[in-house]
């Protein structure tokens, strides 16, 4: 294992783990950074250095999870990152998955009922997934940002109470494991149980993208479940104790 720090050259970080490319994009960085270190780049672009380093390390190394340090980041910074991740799913990963699964299924020698079943299962998964992220963006994130403004005395407590009388973050918690389960089911069905007469190269291409999606989604859930939600619980406690 290797953890990166502010003095690592970003080019060598990407050489070591190219799956970080979409992550650095989300954090506001595009290719063409020459030999600059992470510190140089973050200063140049006005990106929070600690947040950058911790986020790429969390993504890069599954056993690395400095929860206490991550809890220092502001709620709005974490949410901004999560929203960009959603965007990446909606604008790129999902359409790319759609394209690859269709290439894969339509290439099977006999276009059969089983293919249609895989297609339906995937469509249902996608539908639920999009509903889930839209719900977070329309309901959960605005709730958290508003709560944060109240705690920082930048919004009215009374209006907040009127708007969210019975709300609490614990109602959102179970959702993720469901999405992760369905993603696991989809990969397992394709790897273990698909009938043997399928197009191998296209099957592999689809799975490669699906695994990329799975890895990204797991990290996304980790950040929500272990950083965002504990932080919101702290804020909710503050709200009650301030009364």
């Amino acid at each position: 294992m290797e953890l990166f720090n502010e003095n690592s050259k970003l080019a060598s970080v990407i050489h070591k783990d190219h799956s970080l490319l979409p992550v650095i994009n989300r954090l506001g960085i595009k290719l063409g950074f020459g030999d600059k270190t992470i510190r140089n780049i973050c200063e140049e672009k006005g990106i929070d250095l600690n947040f950058f380093v911790e986020t790429i390390n969390v993504f890069h190394y599954e056993a690395y999870f400095p929860e206490k340090r991550l809890l220092d980041f502001s709620v709005s910074m974490v949410i901004e990152y999560l929203v960009k991740t959603h965007q990446y799913y909606k604008d790129y990963l999902i359409p790319e998955n759609d394209r690859l699964i269709e290439l894969f299924l339509s290439a099977s020698p006999d276009e059969n009922a089983e293919n249609d079943l895989v297609r339906k299962f995937y469509a249902k998964f996608k539908e639920e997934f999009v509903i889930h992220i839209n719900f977070e963006e329309r309901e959960m994130f605005p709730y958290i940002l508003e709560l944060n403004r109240v705690i920082e005395n930048r919004a009215s407590r009374e209006q907040f109470k009127l708007k969210y009388p019975e709300y609490s973050i614990s109602s959102f918690e179970k959702e993720h494991s469901n999405m992760d389960d369905k993603m696991d089911d989809l990969t397992n069905i394709i790897i273990k149980y698909l009938p043997p007469n399928y197009d191998q190269n296209r099957g592999n291409a689809f799975l490669a993208n699906l695994f990329l999606f799975e890895k990204d989604l797991k990290n996304h859930s980790r950040i929500e479940d272990h950083i965002l939600i504990p932080k919101v619980k702290q804020l909710e406690k503050l709200l009650v104790s301030d009364e």
Partner: protein, 200 residues
């Protein structure tokens, strides 16, 4: 999946160096989950662990918190301790990991113990579903609730839940729609018998 799913490995050490080192050494050679903790009492976050649990900890940590850990892991079928001996001298035992043990030796010792767990579970690595599990699966795919399945098979809901858990462990599929897919692909049910638009 197979019964490996029911085995968890927990490494407890105050030292991140030891934790990450053992994680690196073990992760490639185990089918089990590896959990890293600084102290025994942090196991409270993993209360739901069931099946067999192997805990790697120093003898001091074991003395301090082994009884607490046993209390926390109420759902576990068996708990086995291995000792981390982080001194310069070595203890020659299959139950002890020494500071200077080679990675291959560490993997060997840990896997020996995990294999003994498997034989304790009568080597139940069979992934074929039993007749009863197939019956339950068929009803799940038709949208029956656990209660309805229990009534039809004249068993308790608890038994149905345990069948469903075994089905998911053997197949690696958890959701109802995923199980329906599995049942159709394996020709356990006929696609025409169910309303796929509804279930999938």
């Amino acid at each position: 999946m197979n019964s490996n799913q029911n085995i968890s490995v927990v490494v407890i050490s105050q030292s991140d160096l030891v934790l990450t080192g053992l994680f690196e050494v073990l992760k490639g050679s185990l089918a089990s989950e590896v959990v890293l903790l600084h102290r025994g009492d942090e196991l409270v976050d993993y209360q739901a662990m069931n099946g067999s649990v192997l805990i790697l900890a120093t003898s001091e940590e074991q003395e301090k918190s082994s009884s607490l850990m046993r209390q926390i892991l109420v759902s576990a079928q068996q708990i086995h301790f291995m000792t981390l001996h982080l001194e310069a001298d070595s203890v020659y035992s299959n139950q002890t990991i020494n500071l200077f043990d080679a990675p291959t030796l560490i993997c060997y010792k840990v896997n020996e113990i995990l294999n003994s767990f498997l034989s304790d579970q009568n080597k139940d690595t069979d992934t074929e579903l039993t007749k009863r599990e197939i019956e339950v699966l068929q009803m799940v795919t038709k949208g029956h609730s656990n209660k309805e399945i229990a009534d039809r098979l004249f068993v308790s809901t608890h038994t149905v839940i345990s069948h469903r858990k075994n089905i998911s462990e053997k197949t690696g599929i958890k959701s109802a729609s995923g199980l329906t897919m599995y049942a159709i692909l394996k020709k356990i049910i006929d696609m025409n018998e169910i309303d796929t638009a509804d279930l999938i």
